[in-house]
């Protein structure tokens, strides 16, 4: 049977080869996901799911309607929500409150994340969902227009949300280090 997924259609129209997208966005997507979840193992699972989904849907990606970044981050956003739905937000909160250590599948992976920034991302992960998303999407390299598009709000509203989130994060960090 003829394959109708990503790669057949990647060579037509104006779509760049999927490999280019993967090369450009894999680490950014991972960082975005990592800021949402508590373990690097979860972040890897979700990132893998994002690119598997994107790979199979690439034939339907229409570059005239959206940027590759916005398209991929929407898939990542949805995959992260699916993860929370599947594993239970309540369980995640319980672990956070009880300070239960989350098992890391690959200790070597932990060493590769810069230690001094892990704490900062942990503060990001504790922000309310929309604030967390605004910061994560913005610092993953998206424009405010793209952030607004992903969060179903205007560009100006995305800017306001981001700045509110930034201030909340600063207060959270100051309280945590006081």
């Amino acid at each position: 049977m003829r394959d109708t997924s990503a790669y057949d259609s990647a060579v037509v129209a104006d779509r760049p080869p999927f490999e280019d997208l993967y090369r450009e966005f894999m680490r950014r997507i991972y960082a975005y996901v990592r800021a949402q979840v508590t373990s690097s193992a979860d972040a890897e699972d979700i990132t893998a799911q994002v690119f598997m989904n994107a790979y199979h849907a690439y034939g339907r990606f229409e570059p005239r309607n959206t940027t590759p970044a916005a398209w991929l981050f929407r898939i990542a956003h949805n995959a992260t929500l699916d993860h929370f739905r599947a594993h239970g937000r309540r369980e995640r909160l319980r672990r956070t409150i009880e300070h239960e250590p989350v098992a890391e599948v690959d200790p070597a992976g932990v060493a590769e994340e810069r230690i001094q920034y892990r704490a900062l991302l942990a503060y990001v992960a504790k922000l309310p969902e929309r604030q967390r998303d605004a910061i994560s999407l913005r610092h993953s390299g998206l424009s405010f227009e793209e952030v607004g598009g992903l969060m179903s709000c205007s560009e100006d509203a995305a800017k306001m949300l981001y700045h509110r989130a930034l201030k909340a994060l600063r207060e959270s960090v100051q309280e945590g280090t006081a």
């Binding site: 394959d3 790669y7 990647a10 490999e19 991972y30 800021a35 992976g109 900062l120």
Partner: protein
Amino acid sequence: MSDNEDLELQALQRQLDDAFETTRPRAGFEDDLWSRMQARRPLLARVQDFVAGLLAPVRRVPGAPAAAVAVVLVLAIGIGIISLRGPGGGGGSSATSRESGTAPFAGAATALGAFGRLPAPALQPVPNADTAPKTAGPSGATAGSVVGLYFGPANLVWAGQFNLQVTSAPVYRYAEPTTTTADQFATSLGASPQQGPAAQAGLGSYSGAGFVLGVTGTTPSPLREPFFYLTPDRSTLPAPGPTPTDTANAFLAAHNLVPAWPYVVATVPSADVVRVLYLRQFAVQGVGQTYMVDGVGDRHGLEVDLRGGQPLQAAGPLPVTLDTADYPIISAAQAVKSALASLPAGPASIEPTPTVRLTTVEIVYALAVAGNHSFYEPAFLFSGTFTHNGVTYVKRVLVPAVAA
């Protein structure tokens, strides 16, 4: 919003940029995932994609001779079928693997900003480590009565002169070496893998005729690129040379370890050990040779320790393939502004917060660690001294030079 609050938020934004930019999956994840995706593709699609990848540049050249296109097609189909074996060779990319063939996206780069956004280099003192300067330090700022470096909060004032004539500088990238890389390096020195517990350390432990060798990968703390540590059997060493540098040169030459990169030699005595330093340099057009610095801002390179005139150990950067790309760099004014607004690299250990006049600045190269690939990046190293309780301290501030 007050100026202070504004600066704090800007600093937080920079930290967030760095945090997201440097958050990476474990080594190998990128390749593993790509392999899994490739494995799900049918053979026909892989051949089509490979051919399309080869044809893309031909399409962009107007008037390419038809015969040449035909030859490319024939070769492409042949090569495509042969190379459909995973991320390193398949995928239809125009990217080429370099020596090791383990990094599917590696390749010499020359275009401006070709590596994309970069992680920012930063001073990263190791908590509780001895931070007494080991070398003559940048601009000689650590000579005299200085007893240590201070990384905590300070009120910074710029009191120097800074004229910068260059607008771009090269960035160097290397792929994280594997155990295979370490094995090849050891073999080139005539060493073979050691058995036993020591074999588990780093990328590998080896023994050769009259020496043992250890190889480690990039480490974020202490900040260090892939390194080798060669320790000789001191009972079999030849007589010392006329000077420590002569002895160190002869020792390195005997083990084929003389650096291939530009360097300046410095000698630092400490108790009964003399350390001969081969301080690494990177050339910047319009500036000349610039030094590489480590996680505390000390000049850095290969070291040979001597005791009683004879080598104790040689330690230095593992030879790795460097790709390079030019990047635009920030202006002198932007660098000064960033230095003054920078966050401290370490905790407060002096009260009240000292005021430090930064008086010198130089372009240096510093390591920025980022998972599968790490970078030697240009940066501005500001420094100044202050005195607290009769003791002189050096304060250093590292500002990434690459424009965001």
